[in-house]
Amino acid sequence: MPQTTTQSKYTTVSIPITLHDRIEKMIIKKSGFKSVSDYVTYVLREVVAMHETKDVPEPFTSTDVEEIKARLKALGYL
């Protein structure tokens, strides 16, 4: 169960202190992130989105496709 703040908007996850320090050093040198948490959130969102969008099936059947193609042809798009 994640440990949450009073407002339940944030939770705590553990990362190695050495990694934390590396990130901290990096973001002090390069502006853009206000904190290690901001950096980790950014990177995780990027990575998670990449995994979530893999192999998402199209929301239509082959019959749908034929009907759509017929309309697109009739309208001059195909």
Partner: protein
Amino acid sequence: MALSPHGGRLVQVRAIEGSNEKIKELSENSRIRVSEETRVQMLNISNGVLSPVTGFMGKADYENVIENMRLADDTPWTIPVLLHVPDDFVAGTSDEITLVDDNTRPLGILEFEELFSISKKEYAKKVFGTEEEAHPGVAKAYASSDRVVSGKLKSVARLDAGGFENYTLSPKETRVLFVEKGWKDVIAFQTRNAPHIGHEYVQKTGLAFADGIFINPVLGKKKAGDFTDEVILETYQALVKNYYPKNSVVLSVLHYEMQYAGPKEAIMHAIMRKNFGCSHIAIGRDHAGVGNYYGPYAAHEIFKEFPDLGIQAVFFREFFYCNKCAGIANEKICPHLESDRLSFSGTKLRKMFQSGETPPKEFMRPEVSQVILKSKTPFVE
């Protein structure tokens, strides 16, 4: 396979069956009379343009959107989708609410979830960055009630496209179309204007790296002085016919009411085009802005907040025609003086057209100018 829709699912709301019994049944539900803007939102929810949103937002989504620019499940989203109701609205005992137009014709059925109040001032501040009523989006927010109803759209009536049916494609259709054309990288171009040379330059710069461009003009209620819907579509048809390679452009309209929310609206524009199957979107100077409410490149900066948006923004600076360069340039690539430059000012263009003048060809293609000059009412009054 086209790119994943926003939130991983292209929402499709089923159509209301049109039997008399069903219509009678609908009339027994509580009713909400909805505005034209809401009708258009229903159209966009039902065909997946606003995926993954399935209806009008509840409190958890609303609060997270205005505070954190994300839905309650962390999906990027910057402008709430709300259904305002009169202060004296009572939900009734049914779990369903029938949404009707001004003629009480049923437009859709909402599965009622919540009735709650919002602070319009907070909404204005968080969405538009200002509480000034001079901002058109803020004025509209203040004119709405502060009570909203949330719920999933269960079904919708056939929602017409205001005479533009033949140019209105759904995300399902554009996704099939792009695959059929063999396009993988598709750059979207959002517009609410007739195209001048600067627009064409942006589009063709995008087209230089993409397989195709999706020109998606916004039709619907606009500000006085904006080009009319008919003129926007006809001018684009003239441009595409005369100046674009065959099979490089899909021109289709989007029914949508501009919010003029600048950077936050730029994100929504990107999300909608992602749902159409686009991999990229062109974002220009002061995208979706109005007056001086937003910094000229605020709509570029905001994309840094969204590593998980799933559509790549391509940023463009302001273009102008430089007499010394003898071509289109921008401040990054042109060393010449302001006096050598001809800026693509909408105000200047409007004045020229109002006095029956044809703009120079460095400013607008003659075929495009002709469409505007031939129109009796090129501008919204």
